[in-house]
């Protein structure tokens, strides 16, 4: 099995450990930290201590600048961001943060290690203690090495461990050792991105490069229309004027090129903005498609690049019966997994 497919299988059936060096971090402090951050982040910042929200930082044209988790931590806020480099994130926050709040770069000191998979909680409990078993989604707690949060972008149980950068090697080695009975694997960013695509998570490094608003990206659940923030005026304007296209998931019979033209009955109806090989010989792709056709259930699409057509159809993601939906930490364990009649991983 190719290493990438091996990494993905671990994420789908056991657990994978990944270094998240692409995630940068800043901390917001000060007596007006909440008000200042609420004027930047696109979602309503309604979180209590110990919780996280998943939202976006937008640019002035309402295009995603960063895909962010924001953690509330004892009157301070920790921002975990994908997309920009640390210096660009710092510059963005400094530019838009109001008075009464300070921003501190944490990317140089801290790093994130992620655990993803239906048995990620089991491996984590061996390192961070049994309390992780009951950790609700989008919450965090402190453990002896740093901060552990539950989030993930794979459709499986997902945890991030924020630890001092000099401890990352030691922690990764410890996780791989303790997880040997769980068939743990190391996985890279490509495996994480593939799983995100299969489970319809936004990828700021792929479709996020396009000049699209959260409306076209189907990310309105991550934004508010009730407050001002960076990009809110442009977003409200786009909403009033309406958009012409929307991202839609496709399953194709073969390799799909990013940028490929999507055609229906000989007419161009969109183009591919993210794609990757998926189950069997099929590819999963994200198409930016004319609204009229931007629904699941459109058969006989053709994707072409350089004249070679590939057949595709639009679908409702995810492609998987994510095992994490069926695995309960209170009932199951990796050692007893064969005793339970779980549905097959791939959806029919």
């Amino acid at each position: 099995m190719p290493p990438l497919e091996d990494e993905i299988l671990a994420m789908r059936s056991s657990v994978a450990v990944s270094r998240m060096d692409h995630v940068c971090q800043v901390r917001i402090t000060g007596e007006r930290a909440y008000e200042a951050l609420d004027r930047i982040v696109a979602a309503d910042l309604r979180i209590r201590d110990g919780q996280l929200i998943h939202s976006l930082f937008l640019d002035e044209e309402a295009h995603p600048f960063a895909d962010v988790f924001i953690a509330s931590d004892e009157d301070e806020f920790l921002i975990l961001a994908e997309g920009p480099r640390p210096e660009a994130l710092l510059s963005y926050v400094r530019r838009h943060l109001g008075s009464g709040a300070e921003v501190e770069d944490r990317s140089a000191e801290n790093a994130v290690v992620s655990l993803d998979g239906p048995y990620a909680w089991e491996l984590l409990s061996l390192v961070a203690g049994g309390d992780v078993v009951g950790l609700p989604y989008l919450t965090h707690f402190r453990f002896d090495r740093g901060i552990c949060y539950r989030a993930g972008k794979t459709g499986e149980y997902g945890y991030g461990l924020i630890v001092p950068r000099e401890q990352v090697e030691d922690l990764s080695r410890l996780l791989l050792e303790r997880g040997s009975d769980l068939d743990v694997r190391e996985a890279g960013l490509e495996a994480l991105d593939r799983c995100a695509l299969e489970n319809s998570y936004f990828n700021i490094r792929r479709e996020g490069r396009e000049p699209l608003t959260p409306i076209e990206l189907q990310l309105q659940w991550r934004v508010s229309y009730e407050k001002p923030y960076v990009g809110s005026e442009a977003l409200s304007r786009a909403r009033r004027e309406g958009v012409r296209r929307r991202v839609t998931w496709l399953l194709a019979e073969g390799a799909v090129p990013e940028g490929g033209d999507i055609r229906l009955r000989g007419r161009s109806v969109g183009r591919v903005v993210n794609a990757g090989h998926s189950i069997g010989s099929e590819s999963i792709a994200l198409g930016l498609i004319d609204l009229e056709w931007a629904h699941p259930g459109v058969p006989a699409l053709q994707i072409t690049e350089n004249g070679t057509p590939c057949c595709a159809r639009s679908i409702t993601p995810p492609l998987w019966n994510n095992r994490s939906l069926f695995v309960s930490p209170q009932i199951h364990s990796y050692a007893t997994r064969h005793e339970f009649p779980f549905p097959p991983l791939a959806r029919a």
């Binding site: 319809s200 409306i215 189907q218 309105q220 909403r239 259930g297 058969p299 409702t316 939906l325 069926f326």
Partner: protein, 101 residues
């Protein structure tokens, strides 16, 4: 096959509108209909529904659309996104039409 595509997609759009209104009126989702994108996750982050809402959603799907799902992990696995619900309702209506027709 292709001549049936447009009516089927327009039927999908009508069901999508019905589902959006059900989520707002019955599940108290504090959004305008056009803010609820078709592939929005229902639980967790997404629309933020919880396990109690899942039970209410099962009741609404049955009462409003005649879609019966088991109140267990298999039933809930069929309710991942708004479009998952549209798929269920569309399949039910097409099945009813096939039996009736």
């Amino acid at each position: 096959m292709t001549f049936e595509l447009e009516p089927r997609l327009r039927a999908r759009e009508r069901i999508l509108e019905e589902i959006r209104h059900m989520l707002i009126e019955r599940l108290r989702v504090a959004r305008h209909p056009d803010e609820i994108d078709p592939d929005t996750p229902l639980f967790g982050s997404g629309l933020g529904l919880d396990s109690l809402d899942a039970v209410e959603l099962l009741v609404c799907l049955d009462a409003d659309f005649g879609v019966k799902l088991p109140d267990d992990v298999l039933g809930r696995a069929g309710m991942r996104t708004v479009n998952s619900l549209v798929d269920l309702v569309l399949a039910k209506r097409e099945s009813d039409a096939a039996v009736g027709g």
